[in-house]
């Protein structure tokens, strides 16, 4: 059905796409010294691409995660994958040393992240989802427990680690947009492309899946299978974003809800686009401000955390009536 609301949303999305382009152009061109144009571009273009990829992964993963959990105030960072990421990197440096190929080669280290996070999420959440009948509370509870579990192992490791090794480790753990991991751009794009291709059927089912297990089954959809596959996809997309820019998936909460509020629709094709565009605008415009107004004094993650926190409270308070 091509309803009026659907067309109105399409217009909103086109406008947002234009804003994304505008922000990207501004990011590339503001205060660029014409004498060193190509040098400036060689620094700025990879950063821009990394931000766009991160916004894409987080924006898409957040909407999908919220829809399969059937709750709009959760973000995939509740799965505990961020602390698993931190643990993996610490463990690699601890066991193999920061000079080893596992830690020094960005692509190898990225592959390790993807495999471990993917396997862990499938085992833990795939199993848990079936055992608990897709009970969101258990998923969130286990996520919280895992977060502190991974966190305490990680801090134990850092305590017995060689201080010099710890120094090198820190730079990969607190990645920010001023310190992006642009070596893995191609690898990430490939992962995302494979992910979208492999999950295209499940993604198309998202609208039906959000009707709940009984209704989806009634309409002939294999609910459990699709949920399992999508959950794995969410984890891998988050792994991509985390590996590129560090743990900022809290942003997913903001952009997913902004998109839901703006578009007021159930169509995931539109919701995901909206969330992705919001993410791109926030990241690129935010980084522009961080670099040129605050001259890097405050990293963008601070803004996202503060802004996200306030927005989260607002959501909690306004959702009470439901």
């Amino acid at each position: 059905m091509r309803t009026a609301a659907h067309r109105a949303n399409a217009r909103k999305l086109i406008l947002m796409a234009a804003l994304v382009l505008l922000a990207a152009a501004a990011y590339l061109l503001v205060e660029v010294n014409p004498k060193y144009f190509s040098y400036a571009m060689s620094l700025r273009i990879p950063k821009l691409i990394v931000m766009l990829i991160a916004a894409f992964s987080i924006g898409g993963a957040s909407i999908v995660f919220q829809s399969i959990i059937n709750n709009t105030i959760v973000t995939p960072c509740l799965l505990g994958m961020n602390s698993l990421y931190t643990l993996i990197h610490t463990a690699v440096v601890f066991v193999a040393g920061s000079g080893s190929i596992l830690a020094a080669n960005a692509n190898v280290s990225f592959a390790v992240d993807l495999v471990i996070m993917g396997v862990a999420a499938t085992l833990i959440y795939g199993y848990l989802f079936q055992k608990t009948n897709h009970n969101v509370l258990y998923v969130l509870l286990i996520g919280t427990v895992l977060t502190s579990f991974f966190g305490s192992i990680q801090s134990t490791l850092t305590r017995v680690m060689d201080p010099n090794e710890y120094d090198t480790l820190l730079t990969t753990l607190v990645a920010s947009f001023s310190n992006v991991n642009s070596e893995i751009i191609l690898f990430s794009l490939a992962v995302l492309a494979v992910l979208i291709f492999a999950l295209r059927r499940d993604l198309a089912l998202l609208d039906v899946l959000t009707l709940g297990k009984a209704q989806a089954t009634n309409l002939g959809v294999d609910y459990d299978r699709s949920i399992r596959r999508l959950l794995l996809g969410v984890t891998l997309a988050i792994a991509v974003a985390t590996a590129m820019v560090g743990p900022i998936s809290f942003m997913g909460l903001i952009i997913a809800n902004l998109s839901r509020q703006l578009l007021k629709t159930y169509r995931h094709s539109q919701l995901i686009l909206g969330s992705v565009f919001f993410g791109m605008i926030i990241l690129v415009a935010g980084q522009l401000i961080v670099e040129h107004v605050y001259s890097y004094a405050i990293p963008i993650s601070v803004f996202i955390t503060v802004g996200g926190g306030i927005y989260f409270l607002y959501l909690l308070l306004t959702k009470r009536r439901v």
Binding site: V208, N218, L219, G220, K264
Partner: protein
């Protein structure tokens, strides 16, 4: 459809206890019985929503679990007892999901006509563009039923369809059930707590108590003082109106 020796346990407690019955094709069958008797569980099992522990559910010559879910969704539709949908969805969009088994996400002109008809059946024309989370409980229930009707299947299973509906809409609902059966030849299985609706509008009644079938038969066979008082443990009187048995309980 034929059900044999169906059994289901929850945490060691048997909630459906070797239930066997045959669903007469092209008729209206009502399931009645006290809360917790196992009606919804039986409905869930015969529509593949709930896994059984033992027994057979034969649907058109093949066990229900061997059917492709997608194929089944064109032959059998179910409205479950509780439905929580959290999406921003209008009534019309919800009803359109009933066409999903046929058209996927792409609604054809033919689908639109069927959706229109289902909406008109449930008298939802005026509110078809409203969001379902902004409707009253009864209005939402009617929208859910319209979705099941739009699914246009030979077998229609409705778990407490009159739940939340006022007398006018509940009666209208029951008339629609009759039309689905008489005019369109569908087989309708409902769970009802209003015994008189079951008596007036169905062909057969299956009475459940404690996970077992207490009585299965035509309306006249089941609607007796003795059977009903035994099942519900309440005093009953049976009267006859328009040749149909109706009950008074107190």
């Amino acid at each position: 459809m034929k059900v044999t020796e169906l059994t289901k346990q929850y945490d060691g407690k048997t909630v459906v206890d070797s239930v066997s019955f045959e669903i007469p094709k092209g008729k209206v069958l009502s399931l009645i019985g006290p809360n917790g008797a196992g009606k919804s569980t039986v409905m869930g099992i015969i529509s593949r929503l709930i896994a059984r522990d033992a027994g057979l559910v034969d649907f058109e010559g093949q066990d229900i679990s061997r059917w492709k879910s997608k194929e089944l969704s064109k032959r059998l539709a179910i409205l479950t007892q509780s439905n929580q949908i959290q999406m921003k969805l209008t009534v019309r969009e919800l009803v359109a999901f009933g066409r999903f088994p046929y058209s996927g996400g792409r609604i054809t002109a033919e689908d639109e006509a069927i959706i229109d008809q289902a909406i008109t059946y449930m008298e939802l024309d005026e509110m078809q563009d409203r969001f379902i989370d902004e409707l009253s409980g009864g209005q939402r229930q009617r929208a859910m039923i319209a979705m099941v009707i739009a699914q246009d299947t030979e077998f229609v299973l409705l778990d407490e369809p009159t739940n939340n509906l006022d007398i006018y809409h509940a009666t209208n609902m029951m008339k629609i059930v009759r039309r689905l059966c008489d005019e369109l030849g569908k087989t309708v299985i409902l769970v009802l707590h209003e015994i008189n609706y079951a008596a007036f509008y169905s062909d057969y009644i299956c009475a459940f108590a404690d996970g077992k079938i207490a009585k299965f038969g035509t309306v006249k066979e089941v609607m007796t003082r003795q059977t009903l008082s035994q099942i519900y443990k309440v005093d009953f009187e049976i009267m006859e109106i328009e040749g149909k048995p109706l009950s008074i309980y107190y």
